[in-house]
Subunit: 328 residues, 2 copies
């Protein structure tokens, strides 16, 4: 996720700095850029290329600035608004698909503000179908029908939700409170239906790349995978494939852990990584020195996930294990 933080006043800049210092450490934030003073220019530069804009200013300024660019809830970035005293963090635009509501809670925790969320489903403690799609990395096949599902939820009606058995782990009390759940073993998609209107959710492919020190303990690999998934707010079962480099293909700690999750580990030849070029990948001098490649977890994740895949979790080290996750 790419985030832009825009401030105007000196107080606002201090809040911007505080958020920057915290988010730069967050593995799910791949790029973060601070802007100060020229709001119109900052919006012009970021609205269509960033995933989230955090505006620290009066609501009128940010609304007037984004007005020429707003297009669709499926493509617009998340826009968050924070007042100059950090009293409130308000989810302004793209609450569900853009993840603004979720980010609002995250930022509020960082700066000690109150989260202000206005989407009806959230206000009524229901799981909007677009929020489920965002949270668990599904594509929405027919977004024009979202409104039927979400309005039914707000009116305390229960749409049916057909869930493939492989995604049984999605079912929790909140989901059961929102939907009439039907388990299903015939296909790979989630289908929400009310009054003959359906929304179909098809899974994005998630690949976790794993690098590790020699003779890594299984418990350390497990810990690393679980921690990364916790930060991504998904269960480890949601990861579709795992990947590592051929040098690590006999590491018992990695092999066993992936096996225990009932998943496959894909092996990428070192040669492939050597010639692989992708701007998303960071460089490790240590790995370069040892193995002549830039890294393991990021390139293997992206190579296995194929063209147009993008990192959602940048390389992060946990006690001898490095983890990266991409989606496509």
């Amino acid at each position: 996720m790419k985030i832009a933080i825009i401030s105007i006043t000196t107080q606002g800049k201090n809040i911007s700095d505080k958020i920057y210092e915290q988010l730069i450490k967050d593995p799910t934030i791949l790029h973060i850029q601070q802007y100060h003073k020229n709001v119109k220019q900052a919006i012009k530069e970021t609205f269509n290329t960033y995933d989230c804009i955090i505006a620290i200013m009066a609501s009128g300024i940010i609304i007037r600035s984004i007005a020429p660019y707003v297009n669709s809830k499926l493509t617009d970035p998340a826009v968050l608004l924070i007042d100059d005293n950090a009293n409130y963090t308000i989810s302004l635009l793209s609450g569900h698909m853009g993840g603004a509501n979720n980010l609002t809670h995250k930022i509020s925790q960082l700066i000690g503000s109150t989260s202000v969320i206005t989407t009806s489903t959230d206000v009524n403690q229901k799981q909007g179908i677009d929020e489920i799609a965002r949270k668990y990395y599904f594509n929405l096949e027919n977004p024009e029908n979202i409104k039927y599902i979400n309005r039914a939820l707000v009116d305390n009606r229960k749409p049916t939700l057909q869930i493939p058995t492989k995604y049984t782990y999605l079912i929790d009390d909140e989901l059961k409170d929102s939907y009439e759940i039907k388990q299903d073993n015939t296909n790979d998609t989630l289908i929400a239906t009310i009054d003959n209107h359906s929304v179909i959710l098809t899974p994005q492919n998630l690949v976790m790349g794993i690098g590790a020190r020699r003779d890594i303990a299984q418990s350390k690999v497990e810990h690393a995978i679980n921690t990364a998934c916790q930060i991504l707010e998904i269960p480890p079962q949601r990861i579709d494939e795992f990947a590592t480099v051929d040098i690590k293909q006999n590491e018992e700690g990695i092999i066993k852990t992936v096996e225990n999750l009932g998943k496959q580990i894909q092996i990428v030849p070192r040669d492939t990584i050597e010639t692989y070029k992708n701007e998303q990948c960071s460089k490790s001098d240590f790995v370069m020195k040892q193995f002549g490649i830039k890294g393991v977890c990021e390139p293997t994740s992206l190579i296995i996930n194929g063209e147009n895949s993008e990192l959602i979790f940048k390389k992060t080290a946990y006690d001898g294990v490095t983890i990266a996750v991409s989606k496509k």
Copy 2:
């Protein structure tokens, strides 16, 4: 003030009804209209003709709906946002000149929500120069300089504020905390200055029309004037002129009260009212029966204030006295 309330869900409609029932009794609200479901159409109909839009829905919906229409903080209506559970009332657009911040507090009190204000001056407990203009009915001569004054306030600098002695009553602790105040007897305008940038505030003309039962007690007239001014959030001295009909020109209760305020009472001939046509005026069957005219307080206020004046306080009866106020 003309207000439109727009809701989408059943819960939202209930909140809309609650606000409607309260505001319809408010003398400063001259027209109020409820809209349900079709937000785009409601915005199209009201954005350029209403003073305030209260949207009960998700922020994304109202922001996407107003985006094509937003133009300038000096002319756009106040836009307020309330979530479906009435947890928060958020001042979204035209916080100062449009009065959105002030209305946000008012609506929050009516429905028991939390007010969310994001304008830097308010957040920092300073009186923005545009907020002073709105509150006390001044026109802003050079709005392009507002930013210099308000940014200085936010940076804890004190702009000078030149106040004519006739407006001494504006000076309170909050104003003194925001500005370096200079009293002045040479002109009729307020002038705020910082770093050679000035904002000039010229007063709108406020005329209060008064009707009353025969032999009305002075205390009752005083009570009526004070109550109306309290609701308008201005001191009685801010009223520039008073008006009544010739039939009442010898009513001691009215004459003495206006004299005590150091103001003039303007007398309007009954004939003038008889032939006066203005859609803003309500009709009183009682007055029509007794004197052959539609009313006293509204037409006399508008006639004395002249062409293009508009009511800011509709006819309201207080124990034998009727009050209306217009601005121009």
